[in-house]
């Protein structure tokens, strides 16, 4: 059994320790806000925060998350009140919306590290196929 703390809730999961955290979140805990995009750390859709750091959960072994604090999009705020979420709504960023949890988590972790505006953007090399990039830039430049 592996003990996890996700969004301030403790879980015990019985799973191959090499299972990527992404699939434990999605298929075992039912926390489906974190997305699968490529499985090879290229797209960023699976981004979560682990002990305040941005991580790609698609390649992060669940066993390595034991004893750490994992924050997913569901745990970012109870009511869409994180400044990044507010900026995303104000600028009407999402189209299909699939990559946005990863984008927002990357943005939030950069904010956590004390970065602002273009500094944050320079760390967000994520892929969006819909083309929300321009509005993400507008949203992030307010942060």
């Amino acid at each position: 059994m592996i003990s996890l703390n996700v969004n301030n809730t403790n879980y015990s999961v019985d799973v191959d320790p090499a299972t990527p955290l992404l699939w434990v979140l999605r298929d075992i805990l039912g926390l489906t806000g974190t997305k699968y995009g490529c499985g090879i750390e290229v797209c960023g859709a699976c981004t979560v925060m682990i002990d305040g750091q941005r991580e790609h959960s698609c390649v992060f072994d669940v066993s390595s998350a034991a004893g750490k604090k994992v924050v997913t999009i569901e745990g970012l705020s109870p009511d869409n009140s994180h400044p990044a979420q507010e900026a995303w709504i104000k600028h009407q960023v999402p189209q299909c919306g699939y990559c946005q949890p990863g984008m927002i988590m990357a943005c939030a972790s950069a904010m956590e590290a004390g970065h602002y505006g273009d500094e944050i953007l320079s760390e967000m090399k994520h892929i969006c196929i819909c083309g929300t990039y321009a509005r993400i830039k507008d949203a992030v430049r307010e942060l």
Binding site: D27, A45, W88, V93, Q95, K125, C128, C130
Partner: protein, 758 residues
Amino acid sequence: MTMTTLTSTLPTDEIAATLATEKLNRRGFLKFSANGLALAFALPLLGRSDAADAAITTQELANAYIHISPIGTISLAFGGAEMGQGSMSGLAQILAEELMVDWAQISVVQALANPVISYTTGGSSAVSRRYTTLRTAGAAARELLVAAAMQETGDTNRDNFKAANAKIFYVPDAQIWWEYGELASAAAGMTLPADLRLTSPADFRLIGKPLPRVDIPAKVDGSAKFGLDIFLPGMVFAAIKHCPTIGGTLKSMPAKPSGAIAVVACTASHTRGSVIAGSKNAVAVVASNTWLASRLAKKMSVSWSLPLSTANVDSAQILAYAQGQLGNGVALVAEPTPPATYTPQTFAPVIQADVANAMGTPTIDATYTVPYLAHATMEVLNCTVHIVYSGTAPVSCEIWAPTQSATAVAANAALLTQLPTTAITVHTTFLGGGLGRKIEQDYIWQAIEVAMAVRKPVKLTWMREEDFGHDQYRPLGLTRVKAKLAGGKIQAWSYRTVSQSITAQRGRLKAGSVDSQAIEGAIHLPYELGNYLVEWVPLDAGVPVGYWRSVGASINTFAVESMMDELAKAAAIDPFTFRYNHFKSEDSRALATLQAADLLSSSWRKQLPAGRAWGVAIAQAFGTWVCEVVEISQPAAGTLRIHRVDCVVDCGTVINPSSVEAQMQGSILHGLNATLWGDAVFKAGVATKLNFNSNRVMRLTEMPAVRVQIIPSTNPPSGIGEPGVPPLAPALANAYARLTGTRIRKLPFFPNATMGGI
């Protein structure tokens, strides 16, 4: 304004039961009482002609409805697909306008397909083709409420009643007014007035305003449910493994790997083409989670029967064959249309002779090549199915799918399970991108087959490598254009395009007829071309092809607008001016769009720094004109930097300008990805680029500045999802030719680009 899955006041089962049996009246409505007022109607359908739509007013089953409950909840049932294009909001915006309610007072409910309340989303038609129908329906519901108020007062003068803010006001007495909810039940019993009084566009409160989209809050907190997010109690997880060689089939059933729950053979659906359809071309491994299923599937050794030849699924061989077909293939005339006095057979030689005569030696004779392209939706293909059994017999089937056609999903479920359609429920989830890929049924079939085999709720996922490797690709296209200039004007134009027909591959194209999608963007050009001929040569190849955002226009606009630029250069005339000189007088919208783009970009184009260049292209697709002007530089050999794209769009009446802007921004990115890097390559039947590391796309940090200007218009609305894609490729190639003197006629610019991790 909210987006809900189901509201408690909405008697969905009762409504569905009525809609499944009751026909529309001769005016195209079905009104009935169901915890308030339900007004059902039929939205125009994709693939059905305007004439057929005009005839749907009688004896048709409804595919949409409005519901107003006694407590005043106002809901629009949305039977389409929300894949990012904003149609869910756009439709509600139109309805709210005519219903005289505020944006905050209306809810959108994603309807179930069982199988009545749904339709296929595609062709950039989701909102534009439904504009009038929805306005009329909104007005009809409003007038039924007014009629109920008239009955209460006994006053039969319609002018004494005013609808606003979801209330009916009695004008002669300010003390008398009703909430819509108070009138809803009575309204269901009223007779629809003859005069439905549509709102004058000058009085629009909501149409044309950048209202916030209903789906966005759920898309920033992780609560939006895409297909991949469906999570059911007791569910199991399946990963698909196709025969890597397209056209190959399962030779023998592999043993179930240790750790797996099951292995299931899967059948190719009809959408994969008539040659492949019906074959067992994949197996699904079922396990306790998706990652485990995918690992087991990857490691599992499967023996496949490979096709005798893979020549027709090999990029190099297909290209060589297409080049031959360009010269020797049987060409079908796409335009001009033969006059009544000719048959197509006698017409072709005459027009060919006329064009050859006018052409003499062409000023330019160029062949433009575009490759197969994958869709690469961010959400991979997936489908969740729960079939309930009684003993060995299925009793009901419930499906959750990111699909552009819940109607087709329901029909396929009925076919595979042999259940009546009344026992089948399809939930359309949010789509993590559709782009034309999720109209197909291959992944749906597989999931149903797996659910039938394991008899548990199951979610089937295509891991990214399967999604790239077994797409239904944008067809490869080769186009040879010859044109003759005289005095700066085109006097002859010969256009011949070779491409695989999506329709023909599915056995639905009449032999000897032109596939209308293959020539989108090649005909009805806005230009005077002198003696001209547009021909299409069908290409018989085995790559499964499908509808990729903008379909044939993505092939042909590259050829047409590149050629226009080459001719402008040959004539030593500015590319804008050259186009102005060739516009047909009746194409005033093309002219106005180009002029607006000219003006919008003129300040920066006229003071370009050294080392930069611009390119322009304009095209119409799905009724919408789009012109794009691109600014580029080349920091080093083999690189390209896109600095900006100016975009002007004329899509007729605008429903939501913010959505139009977003769709243009998205189409431009889609065009950039395809033009710079997009290239699905097949070697001996096997797709070679299987993840984003070999399918380079633009990252956020690389995105150029995009400005979108919308031309004000009172014309009927036209599509916005796709028309922004086609002009990008030629605009970029035209800029590149201006910058470097080198003309790129074969896409992509950088065929072997890769991407690293982040």
